[in-house]
């Protein structure tokens, strides 16, 4: 499973959206209806799933699905 596919799975589970809505350009807050706590939880889910640690300063810059995927692919162990 690609990082993107895995992300779609995480986001669908967390935010209760349809898989089709999770496009690379989709913004978590504006397009997928996430609130600030959802974002924090999603970041923690990503950390668990991909076994990485995302510093707060980096997490702040992750607002779209693509940004998350790019970050994971760059930092995955």
């Amino acid at each position: 499973m690609s990082v993107f596919e895995k992300m779609v799975e995480l986001i669908v589970e967390k935010l209760g959206v349809e898989p089709g809505e999770v496009t690379p350009e989709a913004s978590f807050i504006d397009d997928l209806g996430a609130d600030s706590l959802d974002i924090v939880e999603l970041i923690m889910d990503i950390e668990d799933e991909f076994d990485l640690e995302i510093p707060d300063e980096e997490a702040e810059n992750i607002t779209t699905v693509k940004q998350a995927v790019d970050y994971i692919e760059k930092n995955i162990k």
Partner: protein
């Protein structure tokens, strides 16, 4: 309360033990805790003999590791934590001029840091389940202050601010967070006070008697219930009117 998993910190005696018993009798699965595994095993076997669904976990919740161990054991056994009762507390009383740094540190560490670590380790599970109850045991002195208890009242007031913040951050996840502020309750902690002070206190209590651990446990049982689901961020005072 049926089947709900509860952790009560500092529950080998006093108010904590009464809370654990009361919730277990109401049908909850309860994890009791104290620093010493040996001590908590004794208590948990006793409660199990009474037919209560209880396990004992020895863990020092002042530390992150201790708190994580406590929550892990609960999760291993029963799959997660629904209700967390942060009860563990100590006092090291001294007039402020005489208060040593270690008396300050110790009280803050157990009463405040312990609550931080335990809440941190258990709340994520609650957010996932979209159901949770955090019940923090403060004290009336966290509201009024009390000579000789600068450290204790600071910690107990800290609990109130902490809880009100949690109530706001996690309301959207159907997690409620409330504080109970007991007044003068008959426990080993208050038993140590000089008779003269006790008499003075008694004179200030409109209901004319000291509270019991069960009085506090009854409030916990209510806050933990489904019926209390619309109450959050509140300080419930159980003090016989002492602070009026």
């Amino acid at each position: 309360m049926k089947e709900k998993v509860v952790i009560v910190t500092g529950s080998s005696r006093g108010i904590g033990l009464a809370i654990a018993k009361s919730l277990a009798k109401a049908g909850a699965r309860v994890v009791i805790n104290s620093r010493s595994q040996e001590r908590i095993n004794e208590i948990s076997s006793e409660l199990q003999r009474e037919g209560l669904n209880v396990i004992g976990v020895g863990a020092d919740i002042q530390t992150k590791e201790g708190a994580e161990k406590l929550i892990e054991k609960a999760t291993e056994k029963w799959g997660g934590v629904d209700i967390l009762v942060n009860n563990a507390g100590i006092n090291r009383d001294n007039l402020f001029l005489r208060m040593k740094e270690d008396e300050w540190e110790e009280v803050i560490k157990t009463n405040l840091n312990g609550m931080f670590h335990c809440t941190k380790a258990s709340i994520r599970g609650m957010t996932k389940k979209r159901w949770g109850r955090i019940i923090n045991i403060s004290s009336i002195v966290g509201i009024t202050g009390n000579p000789g208890q600068a450290n204790y009242s600071a910690a107990k007031a800290g609990i109130i601010g902490f809880t009100k913040t949690l109530a706001q951050e996690f309301g959207g996840r159907n997690i409620t967070a409330n504080v109970i502020a007991p007044g003068f309750i008959e426990t080993e902690m208050t038993d140590k006070l000089p008779e003269k002070i006790k008499e003075q206190m008694l004179g200030r209590i409109p209901l004319g008697k000291f509270g019991t651990c069960d009085d506090v446990a009854a409030m916990v049982r209510f806050l933990a219930s489904e019926e209390a689901g619309y109450i959050t961020g509140q300080v419930l005072v159980v003090d016989g009117g002492l602070a009026l």
